[in-house]
């Protein structure tokens, strides 16, 4: 084949190109970045799909949720960059589990250089967080589409925090209905917050998924607040009884579990 003739010519760069051509297609596992087990129910692929654009919003902790998305991938070696996150709480990031030695923050350069900086970030970092900073309702322009295409090409994940900022997201995450624990009138201190996170989006994520999270828990990390369903210990009436201000109840992730258990019991 052409490979042998290239080898004879002795040009290392051409040989590298040939090996890329001859490589098998990338496996599915390489196309997603890991996420924390507590967040996995929100993603149709079980992780952050490379090349995707996400938006994180809501009143229940958008910044914490965006940071939580990066924890598992960064622990495995991916680098995380943030632009326009001037007031990011680094101790909170460390508490959630983000390895700070792989976090780089870039000052927002203003409207003039922002696209170039974002393009460079998408080139070099696996996960790029962009703070909306008042541009949440911006119109989608050609520049946004080009940046999204670049992210897809370079297999980087773009996360817009606090507003879409003109990007067309593949997945929208909203954290709502936050309830803090630990605060009594004039005593105690904020210890943990439970939020309902809803994920909706395009294609495979069309059907909204919801889960209940501790964001953060008392030790600062992200935990799932959905108690594992144990058919024997808790009486049935109280098992799935959780109250929120929002009218829509918890769906899929909780009702599926007993059905799966029943199916397993039948099979085994």
């Amino acid at each position: 084949m052409a490979v042998t003739s290239i080898a004879r010519r002795g040009d290392p760069a051409a040989l590298t190109r040939a090996t890329h051509l001859a490589q098998p297609v990338a496996m599915a596992g390489e196309r997603t970045l890991a996420v924390l087990p507590a967040l996995a129910p929100l993603f149709p692929d079980g992780g952050l799909r490379r090349g995707n654009v996400l938006t994180v919003g809501g009143t229940g902790g958008a910044t914490s949720l965006a940071l939580a998305l990066t924890v598992a991938a960064a622990e495995e070696g991916s680098w995380v960059a943030g632009m326009g996150l001037a007031s990011l709480g680094l101790a909170a990031a460390a508490g959630l589990g983000v390895p700070l030695e792989r976090l780089v923050l870039v000052r927002d350069p203003g409207s003039t250089g922002r696209n170039e900086v974002l393009a460079t970030l998408l080139d070099s970092f696996d996960i790029v967080l962009v703070g909306a900073g008042g541009r949440g309702a911006e119109r989608t322009t050609g520049a946004h589409r080009r940046l999204q295409a670049k992210g897809r090409e370079r297999s980087s994940v773009l996360v817009a925090v606090g507003g879409a900022g003109g990007f067309e997201p593949d997945l929208r995450l909203r954290a709502e209905a936050a309830r803090w624990d630990g605060l009594e009138p004039g005593a105690g201190h904020l210890q943990g917050r439970r939020v309902v996170v809803e994920a909706s989006g395009r294609r495979a994520a069309m059907r909204p998924r919801r889960t209940l999270l501790w964001l953060p828990a008392a030790d600062g990390t992200v935990q799932s607040a959905v108690a594992p369903v144990d058919a024997t210990s808790i009486p049935p009436a109280e098992r799935l009884c959780v109250t929120y201000p929002s009218p829509t109840p918890i769906s899929d992730t909780q009702t599926d579990a007993p059905a799966a258990e029943a199916a397993a019991a039948l099979a085994g």
């Binding site: 700070l100 923050l105 030790d219 600062g220």
Partner: protein, 532 residues
């Protein structure tokens, strides 16, 4: 092993930057000190200090900017002075020159005479700049490393040091292990500097102790760097074990027509040539550790220098050294009278090319390299101050970590810098975990009112005047307070009447589910952070 003469001009970056003689001066790069003058060292400024630490140690410190081009340019007259003694001067970096002792010894009758002559020539060239960092030191010994140590000792002593034949190992023995740091720095593997840092902790403090160990033990523990460290410490062979002379057909040259007179043209040409040389070498599986750069002008004036590095020279390094050499030549008193027509790069000594191995366990991964390149590009795009990384500071505020420019940190040390150093204090009285996710750099004004509409105050004993009921941030709508905790009292710098700050912090939960961190100072409320 041949006898080498090494001439060292101590603290050359300080001298080249033009510091006034006798004054404490330091050269800074990316906010860190890279070179100091003896007066500055006497005041306590050391290499590696941050700018503020250095200024705290010595307030009248003269601060100079790091410029390797200027260092190389300023060293060229010194090299031209040494041309009187020998034609094959070898450089590793500006400030140090090496040449073989055999030829000049025969001509001048004795190594001591050669050393004296070299010292006199260089001192005459430096003139009154000798007062900045001391006189140059000349050392003669078996091998480059021992001669360098001898030269450094000579610079301190003020007279040339000649180590007798065969006594180099004994001469090196009492020197401390960190003299190896410079030599091992250029090695391609990740452990070069780490080896040197680890040896004292293992109990090996002098080169004699390192040389006394079996070579295989050091090689087994540290790999190639350990073997090289043993080789240098026992004043063994100068060159790496797998080095050999290059085949002569690998030299590359370029004829310039019309002749180039501007350094920018020459720099561009140098880069092309260096890339071509690198291509030729890697296609044969080689990399060069010593390269001779020769230039010839239209009127026939020639200049030739040998450059050497401990590890393999990258094309960027070769191009940089070519540029330094030509820039120095064009600006020195012996400058060519016409443009440069011929530029040649001749690899002198080559080693097998190991490529750049990506680390398997730890070390540098592809993601690390990609990120490092990205950070360099961003620094160039937005300025070094715009690319920031976290660093631990400590304190009782909402965020004990701060952001520092990425260029000022050493990537190898970043994991230690982001966590509290061992033995650091528990900071009693600091805000409890978990920390807020949004911490404002400048707090926003806020209003906290109790049920009767009066602003909530905190008494001297730390008791809130009334439970807060309504919170309005930055003049926005008033939000109902559904939970609150505090106050956490802070009385900072109470001993300094000008700097004293008394604050009370509260955690407040409003009915939209958001929690904020508010501070009361001098009767006014501020929003410091939000638990977003």
């Amino acid at each position: 092993m041949s006898r080498m003469v090494v001439v060292v001009c101590p603290d050359w970056p300080v001298v080249a930057a033009g510091a006034p003689p006798g004054a404490p001066a330091a050269v800074l790069h990316a906010n860190r000190v890279v070179a100091t003058s003896p007066a500055a060292r006497a005041e306590g400024v050391a290499v590696g200090h941050r700018r503020r630490e250095a200024q705290r140690a010595c307030p009248e410190l003269v601060l100079l900017v790091h410029d390797p081009d200027r260092d190389a340019r300023a060293f060229e007259p010194v090299l031209q002075a040494l041309d009187d003694l020998t034609h094959r001067v070898e450089l590793t970096r500006p400030g140090r020159a090496t040449f073989a002792a055999r030829g000049p010894t025969r001509y001048h009758g004795g190594e001591a005479a050669v050393a004296q002559r070299a010292a006199a020539l260089v001192a005459a060239c430096l003139g009154d700049r000798v007062g900045v960092a001391g006189p140059p030191g000349v050392g003669v010994a078996d091998g480059r490393f021992a001669a360098t140590l001898a030269a450094i000792q000579a610079a301190r002593a003020g007279a040339p040091v000649v180590v007798p034949v065969g006594a180099s190992a004994a001469f090196c023995a009492p020197h401390p292990v960190d003299t190896l740091a410079d030599e091992l720095d250029g090695l391609p593997a990740t452990g070069g500097r780490r080896c040197v840092e680890l040896l004292p902790r293992l109990g090996l403090r002098t080169l004699g102790q390192v040389a006394a160990l079996p070579r295989t033990d050091l090689a087994g523990r540290f790999g190639a760097e350990g073997a090289r460290a043993h080789q240098l410490a026992s004043a063994g062979d100068d060159d790496p074990a797998d080095a050999h002379p290059a085949p002569p057909e690998l030299a590359v040259h370029l004829e310039l027509d019309p002749p180039a007179e501007q350094i920018e043209q020459l720099a561009f040409v140098a880069k092309q040539l260096a890339d071509r040389l690198h291509g030729e070498l890697t296609s044969r599986g080689l990399a060069c550790t010593r390269v001779v750069v020769a230039a010839q002008s239209e009127h026939g004036e020639q200049q030739q220098r040998a450059w050497r590095a401990e590890g393999a020279l990258t094309p960027a390094a070769i191009a940089e050294r070519t540029r330094w050499q030509l820039d120095g030549w064009l600006q020195s008193p012996g400058a060519p009278t016409a443009g440069i027509t011929l530029l040649r790069l001749i690899p002198d000594q080559v080693v097998p090319y190991q490529g750049r191995q990506l680390g398997f366990w730890g070390g540098q991964t592809r993601a690390d390299e990609r990120a490092a390149r990205g950070m360099a590009r961003l620094s160039a795009l937005c300025g070094a101050d715009a690319v920031l990384v976290p660093e631990w500071r400590g304190g009782r505020g909402p965020d004990p970590l701060a952001l520092v420019p990425a260029e000022a940190t050493d990537p190898a040390h970043r994991p230690e810098r982001v966590s509290p150093p061992p033995g650091s204090g528990p900071w009693p009285g600091r805000l409890p975990f978990p920390a807020p996710a949004v911490v404002l750099a400048t707090p926003e004004p806020a209003e906290m009112l109790d049920a009767s509409g009066r602003s909530v105050a905190v008494s001297g004993r730390g008791v809130a005047s009334a439970p807060p009921a309504v919170l309005s941030v930055a003049g926005g709508a008033g939000l109902v307070v559904v939970g609150w905790a505090g106050p956490w009292l802070y009385d900072e710098r109470w001993w300094d009447p000008g700097d004293r700050r008394r604050r009370a912090r509260f955690q407040v939960l409003t009915d939209d589910g958001r929690a904020h961190l508010l501070a009361l100072e001098a009767g006014r409320w501020w929003r410091e952070a939000t638990y977003d």
